[in-house]
């Protein structure tokens, strides 16, 4: 019985928990609630994943109205995969949040913080499960609005302008997206994603549909911060409260990538749109610029949170590169990197959260000598950094392996070389940190720094550990990503 409704429970449990936080208003209780809810969500998403593996696509009609008339939820391998990513990050982040948030956010607002965190997670989950193009927009806005609030909650005033700029960019992106949806609706009369997928081939050569594709793609690219639409991201990540950065970096852009995948491969899948209008060339070019631009700028950052943010831009480039290769291998490389990057970047930002918790700064110069004082935290940073570089036994290696293989399969030599070179750039920026942290003496004035508290350490080590576990055993993740990719591409060939 209840298993039939799991999909909707996935969304409404955190959704309803958010207003509860407003009733409670006690920081600790709301935190406990958020933690419990996030774990329930994880359990649900994993169960869903198993269901999908057994039964295939699951469809849920909201309000009991069948698909094109009502809104439906539709979960296949791909959504289930993204759900697991988002919920597992959520489940790790909320326990971590307590101390970090107490330090960085006004205490009388903590309950709002947790409500927003829950809403943000709900929004992301809602984007993921929905089978309706307009409903996607609604949940996009729930997650976006809560994100703006979360970013602005920190004590650094630059968080405010970062949130504002993100608000402007994000709203533009969302508006572009609904413009595109509107144009599609005009040509087909449907808003349902699966239905659109069936209807599009008949009208694919219409200029309206092409314009719609362009608008939806641009809109989502703003959200996922693909170069050159990334301007909002570095500051938003750098000046948001640390725990918010962890959550966003590990989930928000991933979900936007997912949405783009849906648009390209499900809505426009029937016409092999990447080839038909040569979007793939544009996307690949942008992805490569992102890979290099992101890494290059990252090298010169002095704020490590900002550095990691730029590195995220580069990593998003990898994902898009994989997706735009338009082959099973390429898409699965992109999809597996969604997960892998969530693990390693989440872990790295958690490290920075611990650092900020202890020394109150994320500046490289202030981190001198931390290697001795916070050995476990900094060890986690090195491990995460290795994963970012793509050293074997890490998840980064698994993604890079898949990506390179996809590129070589297509015979795209230069691109394979570029991937490799850009991952060497990661060596440089990770190295800068290692050098300062391990080889420079702590500044004289600083009071002795203790290791991060256990409650932050455990989630952090969990994520980093996961980055290694799934690096050593990459078969599970690759298998799921591969199946998701096959179902996407399979409908098309």
């Amino acid at each position: 019985m209840i298993t039939d409704h799991l999909i909707i429970l996935q969304i409404i449990i955190p959704l309803i928990a958010a207003p509860f936080c407003v009733f409670i208003r006690n920081a600790n209780v709301t935190w406990a609630l958020a933690t419990v809810i996030s774990w329930i969500c994880l359990a649900i998403s994993i169960t869903l994943m198993q269901q999908v593996m057994v039964t295939g696509e699951i469809i849920y009609e909201l309000g009991g109205w069948a698909a094109p008339w009502g809104i439906e939820y539709r979960v296949d391998m791909l959504n289930a995969w993204v759900l697991v990513i988002v919920t597992s990050v959520g489940a790790v982040v909320t326990p971590y949040a307590k101390l970090s948030a107490e330090k960085e956010i006004d205490n009388d607002r903590l309950y709002i913080f947790y409500a927003m965190l829950l809403l943000c997670e709900t929004g992301l989950l809602g984007i993921t499960v929905t089978g309706d193009a307009f409903n996607l927009f609604v949940f996009l806005e729930i997650s976006a609005l809560s994100t703006y609030v979360l970013i602005s909650m920190g004590k650094d005033r630059r968080g405010l302008t970062a949130a504002y700029r993100y608000l402007i960019m994000g709203t533009l992106g969302a508006t572009f997206y609904i413009t595109g949806v509107g144009l599609l609706y005009m040509q087909t009369g449907s808003l349902n994603i699966a239905d659109l997928g069936k209807l599009i081939p008949d009208v694919a050569d219409s200029r309206t549909v092409q314009a719609a594709l362009a608008f939806m793609t641009v809109g989502l690219c703003v959200k996922l911060a693909l170069f050159p639409l990334h301007m909002w991201l570095p500051n938003a990540y750098a000046f948001a409260p640390s725990v918010v950065t962890v959550f966003l970096a590990a989930t928000a852009t991933k979900v936007a990538v997912y949405a783009l995948v849906r648009v390209i491969f499900t809505i426009f899948g029937g016409v092999d749109i990447l080839e038909a209008v040569q979007i793939s060339d544009v996307l690949i070019a942008m992805a490569i610029v992102a890979m290099f631009g992101g890494s290059a700028v990252a090298i010169y950052q002095t704020n490590i949170k900002r550095m990691l943010a730029y590195s995220s831009l580069a990593q998003i480039g990898y994902m898009i590169l994989g997706l735009s290769m338009n082959s099973v291998l390429g898409v699965s490389a992109g999809l597996v990197h969604l997960f892998n990057h969530a693990m390693m970047k989440g872990g790295l930002f958690m490290v920075m959260g611990c650092v900020v918790y202890r020394i109150g700064s994320a500046k490289l110069g202030d981190m001198a000598g931390l290697g001795k004082q916070m050995p476990l935290t900094m060890g986690a940073f090195v491990l995460g950094g290795l994963s970012l570089i793509g050293v074997p036994l890490t998840v980064g290696f698994v993604s890079k392996w898949a990506l390179l293989q996809a590129a070589l399969e297509k015979g795209w030599w230069p691109i394979a070389v570029l991937i490799v070179i850009s991952s060497l750039m990661a060596v440089v920026y990770i190295w800068r940190v290692v050098e300062v942290v391990y080889f420079q003496a702590a500044p004289a004035g600083r009071v002795a720094v203790k290791e991060a508290p256990l409650m932050m350490m455990i989630p952090m080590l969990t994520l980093i550990g996961a980055a290694y576990y799934f690096g050593i055993d990459g078969t599970t993740t690759m298998d799921i990503a591969g199946r998701a990719a096959e179902s996407l591409i399979g409908g098309l060939k």
Binding site: M116, N135, I142, M186
Partner: protein, 176 residues
Amino acid sequence: MLVTAFAIIRIRNLFSVVILTGLFSLLAAAIYILMDAVDVAFTEAAVGAGVSTVLMLGTLALTTNDEKSTYKNRAVPAAILSIITGAMLIYGTLDMPNYGDAKAPIHQHVAPRYLNQSAQEIGLPNVVTSVLASYRSYDTLGETFVIFTAAMGVLAIIGRGRRRRKKENVEQEAKT
């Protein structure tokens, strides 16, 4: 409306701009009525012309009234970008069905069911309400949560607690 929009671009006095935006919304509401979208018009009038304008005026009261400098350096690229985007859209419109064409696909696929069967299925005369609150009630749930989020967000950003603390800071700064 075009004139209003253009005026918004040119005028530097923010107070006038805000009032013009209200006007713009009202005009839009009028057009909605012409296009049979009474519910939307109602909402637009209440929100666009009402709430938004009041909020913007409130903001202006708290900040400043005049736009300061000119941003010539950005004007040209911005214009080019807008024109390209616009051109893209115009290009898109070329294949659109004519305005008001009853045979357009948009009126063929999903909508007829709402119009023809909602009377039996829902039993309400206002089809917009039927669709809003039943067929697509989940969107509306989402919408409600958006409003909820926004309200909580505003509380978080400019609620009372922080202001009090802030004021102390300002006083301290003033002393030093």
